[in-house]
Symmetry: none
Subunit: 203 residues, 4 copies
DNA sequence: AATGAATGAGAATTCATTCAT
DNA sequence: AATGAATGAATTCTCATTCAT
């Protein structure tokens, strides 16, 4: 009758497990991570994970979903005003701020996104969708306003932009943070995406 | 002294194993692939793999190395003349042609590169080095000739260009070939890289 | 002093748990049944079972004991008059009526009896004893009266008779009720037991 | 090319595993037995079992099948001459001799037969079929010759006879061999089955 | 050099049991 | 008395690796 622990406590336990899982999955991937180690890291015994998640794969998907949830709340607050450049910078900064604060979760998501595995594809798409939608909206506005060359469909542009961000994260993590730093990623992504490497006014 | 034929046979066996391994690693990843299945696909029994390679991980690294070797021979033949644009296109085309002909090997390499795992990082860097060097040379020339904006170090530019290629491959494979096709990747990569999405002539 | 109601409530809870347990054990056996499912079926949570029973095995044994208790009360009412045949029929009918009304409990008992497991052997013997005693009494009377061939000890005869009943139940359940039906079991058991398959009057 | 061990050695290993498995399943049942313990008892490591059998359940079924195979060869040699009584005795003796020599296997089979579990039912039926067929043939002949009362279908008679044997085995094992002994089972089964407990000549 | 049977560490998962609330 | 979250021993099964032939 009287619940042994409150709903809040349960939610907290769940969260602890998700955080630990994210850290492990980020470091070792789905296969490499060990349920046992995750549980212990979260301060629980092996079995407890199974009180909260169906199994390892399910846990992995929930990590992605949680990553999405946390990101979504940030994206929602992004100002949508100004030039395409300003708006893209704002979006990129929102994404970077998510990555900074939830590095483990986002590492999992980015790696998984770039691996295109059928098992996790739907979860990834769901994760990306809200962000992609906002980017696409900016692209559409930019195309209309002539701020973006109209020779490529907006969905492709959005993918390229988001892909560029992912690429920069990969380079950031892969280089051990040497280059690029998280701080410079928004400018880097937007400048490269919009302006390219050729001098303006050439060609 | 050493019978020539034996050496050849050994090399051939090794190659057969590498090809089979590449196919399996490309499809299933390092963890998912099975030593047994690889051996059988190559026409050998499990044990034989251990006559040629130290173990699974070593085999994986050798697949990457072999991928590098094959690619390097192609890169070496790339004409390096004309504008930066032309030379980058030529390099991108060389890379695409490698991907087309050795899809399994390159899938393994690209995926691994984008997974930023410390264990395979050195192998990946070694793999990329020759290609990266050529790209960097073009960038350096381009910067000198004013064909490329001088506000970013050439190594970074090279990384971005190569990363863009990787991104496009991943999107190609992930979409089941829907977009982009291999054919359009060189133009796509070079145009985006050089020109960006903003209309030429704008700020 | 002790509140009457509490005692009753306890007894009722215990019974609810036993009923649920019997149903599960009958369907899934000792190993296959789940403490959790039993508790839920009884309207309680897992932990409650441990307020009433030592553990799973103990619960199983108590199911057998409860089965015995219920059967015993029926056996006690069996008329013991007439020929051996009549009395055996009456006893068999009493047993069948128990099986009909308490199928789950008796399934557990019969199956366990036929599985000859040392762990549960004592419980099974205790369960059977009262019934076996009555059957044996009939056998003894019958032997004395010449209604039964005197060439076999009465305890053995009793065991054979009870075993035949068990066998018929098992065949009834195993055939999904096809053959024999519960109704025909008493006659079947007694006829086979007393008369055999050879024509009367033959050797 | 050269097989590491001969086919014979493989067959022997398989047999050793089956024997060990039979012993364990006879003692502990399907659920209670441990794959690990079986392997060790057979002189192998855990993993080896999986080189010969799909899994625990499959191993269990193969034990039944092996029990059937061994029994079948004995049944095939049974003389089919003389009176119904003689022929049934011969069949019962053949079965008892199987049980004597392959006690573990037959314990598994008998227990499983009496449990009517859907998972193993087909295997059991296959096991029993050849024996049941022979018994039925005798019944049919006996009915025709008037040696058996014609008031019950021969399939039912066969089932009852085989069931009686099973019952006697159960009682033999359950009593720790006290009663009945294996030796007396054939006479016991046939006499009871044919003549019953009522004195010949009575109603 | 090739084989493939044997191995056993390792992993995921289950679930009876405990016990704080 | 009832609860159900936490536990962790136990179990099955996998598969890279070894090594006798």
């Amino acid at each position: 009758m009287t619940p042994r622990i409150t709903e809040d406590a349960k939610a907290e336990a769940r969260l602890r497990l998700l955080e630990a899982a994210a850290a492990h999955f980020a470091r070792q991937g789905l296969d490499g991570a060990s349920i046992d180690a995750i549980a212990i890291d979260a301060g629980y015994a092996k079995g407890t994970i199974y009180n909260y998640f169906e199994g390892k794969t399910q846990l992995f998907l929930e990590v992605i979903a949680e990553g999405a949830r946390r990101a979504a709340s940030r994206y929602a607050k992004v100002e949508s005003r100004g030039t395409v450049r300003d708006r893209l910078i704002a979006l990129a900064e929102a994404d970077v701020s998510v990555v900074r604060d939830e590095e483990a979760f986002q590492k999992v998501v980015v790696r998984e996104a770039l691996s295109f595995r059928p098992e996790t594809y739907p979860a990834i798409v769901a994760h990306l969708a809200p962000y992609l939608d906002q980017v696409e909206a900016v692209m559409a506005d930019g195309t209309r306003a002539g701020e973006i060359r109209g020779d490529r469909p907006t969905p492709q542009l959005a993918l390229l932009f988001v892909g560029t961000l992912a690429l920069l994260y990969v380079q950031h993590w892969g280089s051990g943070g040497a280059w690029p730093s998280l701080d410079e990623i928004p400018t880097l992504a937007v400048t490269d995406f919009l302006d390219g490497a050729a001098p303006r006014g050439s060609t």
